[in-house]
């Protein structure tokens, strides 16, 4: 294999590692949570094992030896030789984190904290030795690095075959390393080969052996041994033995290697000349060099009088936050997810993107055909036109199905992102000295892969914010407030129409509005006279550069805060909302489109332009009766609709379109999610259609109130309105003309 291929496999390996890490973390968390069933333990064990296997293939030594000892401990739990106590679980959780660090190290060359690694490895070895960790128990010596021999056998270089019975040990592959070739001279080596009774049954075939032996310079062959009487003859047993003579320039070890695969199933005698025989005899007699320590007893190397490791493990549970609680998922809902791999095919995202794009283009073309056909039909209502209409309709249905199928390929459960979050919370709990637990729900909510990829960063920020600013500063504060010691953070996902809603909710102290106000005034974000509602104050924390932490904390300070979240979410076509109750907690809600590629839209005419409203937000279209209009003193107009009053927004004004008189004839009621129902005045309603979103940013720049553009069937470009942001523009006094000019 050449290097290129190696590189590809590595990338693949790392990709898989990240999935395995997710599985590992998830199951370790469940374990810590008290779910101690076979499946959970086994799944965690296998994740570690798979990483080790891959690491071994690529020779990531640090990762291999750590995974090995980790796996050994998991195996003890799996085989009920060790009961995972809270302390053990805590070590396991940290080991899971260490795996991630090591994988990242192997992947990106990021530095690994060697001391931490050594300590943790020592703790695991200590566990593997069968002693439960205790505060006073001496951990294995820190000086045990480089990794103790106990971790080595699994990683011994090269290639290993059945080590016969015992004397050949595990290192049968070793002789390959010995340079025995004496120039180009050939030697004669005779091998007596006596297969066991099981030889055939184990899938071996003497004929194949002999055929292959020819390529190792087999020059003559003699069948020896007794063929039994016909009555006693059992055709499933190989009765023959062979004496094979090789005239070869190859070393004896090469020949030995050739025969190694048969070592467990045949008696192999090397009858070379005396000198050679001695050499090989010595090899056989030598005890295996590195294989003596079996995985079950790797901690033998840790000396009993070792000094305690600097970070004793057990006191963590007492004085500090309990990280294993922090990582506790709410429900073990996803436990079965990776039970059995389903038949699947891995495809690179760009290929699917191309497919999505193509389907999008086809939808546009189809819309064009449909429109043209309507014009033709209007002019000439012939049978042919009718028939063609049916066909076009069928095609449109099929196209829609095609498009849904293509989109379904990209849909993934948010779990891949969610499962990383318990660790984030755990780390933060450690760092901040707070006690917190994270509850996950709706992990199986499926979202387009393009959206999932972008979620991790904002989610992490939101959790940081909740941990750092949301939860009370100390446990004492929580108790004083009449709350449980452990702070609760809930992370959930759900579908709502064409969007996915992700919430992060904490039961902390809520937004400190006084401080936010003070800070905002200090930073001149608002003036002293501004009289803001509590909700408006809360929203200030999304303002760029806003950070309320009195001192810049290492966790969420430095002004990299919620504004980053908002920016990210908005760039994905989503929105952020915040609800806070002082003393009770804070709830962030982000709303995202399920996909960033296609949507259903309603085409409307405002002034002399066509616009698209996302169909998901449209509630109804209605004709306006002038009696239903109520004018408020502040200039706003309300529309009465079946007994309730809706804010009436004239899109012609907002979009600065010429109004054909003041006549207000038609309105579309939309649900804005953030500001409830609103009625929008439009000039004309054309109909609904599927539209392919084209980003404005890619070609132009982001425009407030516009979420993108699409190409209509007649080739015209129409802008897609983002109603909530239009409204906030309208509310803040801005108009579209300001944005355009």
């Amino acid at each position: 294999m050449d290097d290129d291929d190696d590189f590809d496999f590595q990338a693949l390996f790392f990709e898989e590692c990240h999935e395995l890490l997710g599985t590992l973390q998830e199951h370790l968390n469940q374990l810590a949570d008290g779910t101690n069933d076979e499946e959970t333990v086994h799944a965690a064990f296998r994740a570690v094992h798979s990483v080790k296997g891959g690491a071994a293939a690529f020779g990531f030594d640090q990762l291999i030896s750590f995974a090995h000892i980790f796996e050994t401990v998991m195996d003890l739990i799996r085989s009920d030789q060790m009961v995972p106590t809270a302390e053990i679980n805590q070590i396991l959780l940290r080991s899971g984190d260490m795996m991630e660090v090591l994988i990242e190290g192997a992947e990106n060359g990021t530095p690994v904290d060697e001391e931490k690694l050594d300590n943790l490895q020592a703790e695991l070895e200590h566990l593997a030795s069968g002693e439960a960790p205790a505060a006073s128990a001496p951990a294995a010596p820190v000086s045990a690095s480089p990794s103790p021999a106990g971790a080595e056998p699994a990683v011994a270089d090269g290639f290993e075959l059945f080590g016969g019975d015992d004397e050949q040990g595990d290192d049968a592959g070793e002789p390959a390393a010995e340079p025995e070739t004496e120039g180009e001279t050939t030697r004669e080596v005779t091998v007596r080969f006596t297969p066991d009774a099981d030889f055939f049954a184990s899938g071996h075939d003497p004929l194949r052996l002999l055929r292959s032996a020819k390529s190792h310079d087999l020059t003559s062959l003699e069948a020896i041994g007794q063929v039994p009487d016909l009555e006693a003859f059992d055709p499933s047993v190989c009765a023959l033995s062979f004496e094979m003579v090789f005239q070869t320039a190859k070393s004896v070890s090469e020949l030995e290697e050739f025969f190694e695969i048969y070592a467990h199933i045949a008696d192999i005698e090397f009858l070379a000349d005396a000198e050679e025989e001695d050499v090989s005899g010595e090899e056989e007699a030598e005890p295996p060099q590195s294989a003596s320590v079996s995985p079950e007893t790797p901690a033998e190397t840790a000396s009993p009088d070792a000094k305690p490791a600097p970070e004793a493990t057990a006191n963590d549970g007492q004085a500090q936050a309990k990280p294993m609680e922090a990582g506790k998922p709410a429900a073990s809902g996803g436990a079965k997810q990776r039970g059995g791999p389903s038949k699947s095919l891995r495809v690179e995202l760009p290929r699917i993107d191309r497919l999505v794009n193509l389907v999008g283009e086809m939808l546009i073309t189809q819309a064009g055909i449909a429109q043209k056909l309507m014009e033709i039909q209007a002019a000439d209502s012939s049978e042919d036109g009718m028939e063609m209409g049916h066909n076009v309709e069928a095609m449109s249905r099929q196209l829609r199905e095609l498009q849904e199928s293509v989109m379904a390929i990209r849909a993934q459960p948010v779990k891949s992102v969610f499962s990383r979050m318990p660790r984030v919370v755990r780390d933060l709990a450690d760092k901040l000295g707070k006690e917190a637990k994270l509850e996950l729900s709706g992990e199986h909510t499926e979202v387009d892969a393009t959206v999932i990829e972008e979620l991790a960063e904002p989610l992490t920020h939101m959790l940081r914010n909740s941990m750092d600013h949301g939860l009370e500063a100390t446990t004492e504060d929580r108790i004083a407030a009449g709350k449980s010691r452990v702070g609760l953070i809930k992370l959930s996902a759900e579908h709502r129409g064409e969007r996915v809603i992700i919430t992060v909710e904490d039961d902390g102290r809520g937004v400190n509005r006084e401080r936010v106000l003070a800070k905002a005034r200090e930073n001149n974000l608002i003036s002293a006279e501004d009289n803001l509602s509590p909700e408006e104050i809360d929203m200030l924390i999304f303002h760029p550069g806003f950070s309320t932490a009195a001192e810049v904390s290492s966790v969420s300070g430095r002004g990299v805060g919620m504004d980053v979240v908002k920016k990210k979410i908005v760039s994905l076509g989503g929105r952020c909302a915040l609800e806070s109750t002082p003393g009770k907690g804070t709830r962030f809600e982000i709303t995202l489109p399920l996909t960033l590629a296609v949507m259903d839209g309603m085409t409307i005419v405002v002034g002399d332009q066509k616009f698209i409203l996302p169909l998901s937000s449209v509630v109804e279209a209605l004709h306006i009766d002038s009696d239903a209009l109520k004018h408020l003193p502040n200039g706003e107009t309300l529309l009465e609709r079946r007994g309730e009053f809706l804010r009436l927004i004239d899109l012609r004004t907002v979009l600065c379109q010429p109004t054909a008189g003041e006549a207000v004839d038609m309105a579309i009621v939309v649900d804005t999610e953030t500001s409830g129902l609103v009625a929008l005045v439009v000039d004309e309603l054309i109909g609904q259609r599927q539209i392919v979103l084209k980003s404005l940013e890619a070609n132009f720049r982001r425009v407030e109130g516009i979420s993108g553009a699409t190409i209509l069937g007649d080739g015209q470009v129409a802008l897609i309105l983002d109603v909530p942001s239009l409204l906030s523009m309208n509310g803040s006094g801005g108009t579209y003309s300001e944005m355009m000019h």
Binding site: M1, D5, F9, Q10, L12, F13, E15, E16, R46, H49, S50, K52, G53, G54, A56, A57, F58, G59, P153, A154, V155, A156, D157, G158, F159, E160, L161, F162, G163, D166, D170, G173, D198, F200, A201, S202, G203, H204, D205, R208, L209, S212, S215, F258, I261, H264, I265, A291, S294, P295, E296, G339, G340, P341, R346
Partner: protein
Amino acid sequence: MSRVLAVDDTRALRMMLGECLKKGGHEVVLAVDGVEALDKLREHKPDIVITDLNMPRMNGLDFIEAARKEPEGKSLPMLLLTTETAQALKDRAKAVKATGWLTKPFDPNQILALVEQLS
């Protein structure tokens, strides 16, 4: 050229093994665990099997044991390719009549040589 059934639950390793065998001119059938491997065994009648040991649903040892009971697997060379080293497992491998035991990391050339040799 042989038809090789390669079984490993780790995608990267499975594909790497597959690629290595393909480069050696072999036809490759891949399976993710013992259960799938049994199906593929019956369906494709391979000339040789290389299987991982630790896998979900059905591990390599159980797979070999089951495969030996199938007509297609009765005298089929079936190699274990694993990071395991415990003697107890090797004994078990012998008991279920595995053809051989290879230790990861594997050397592609040696894998190819073995496939030549055994199939």
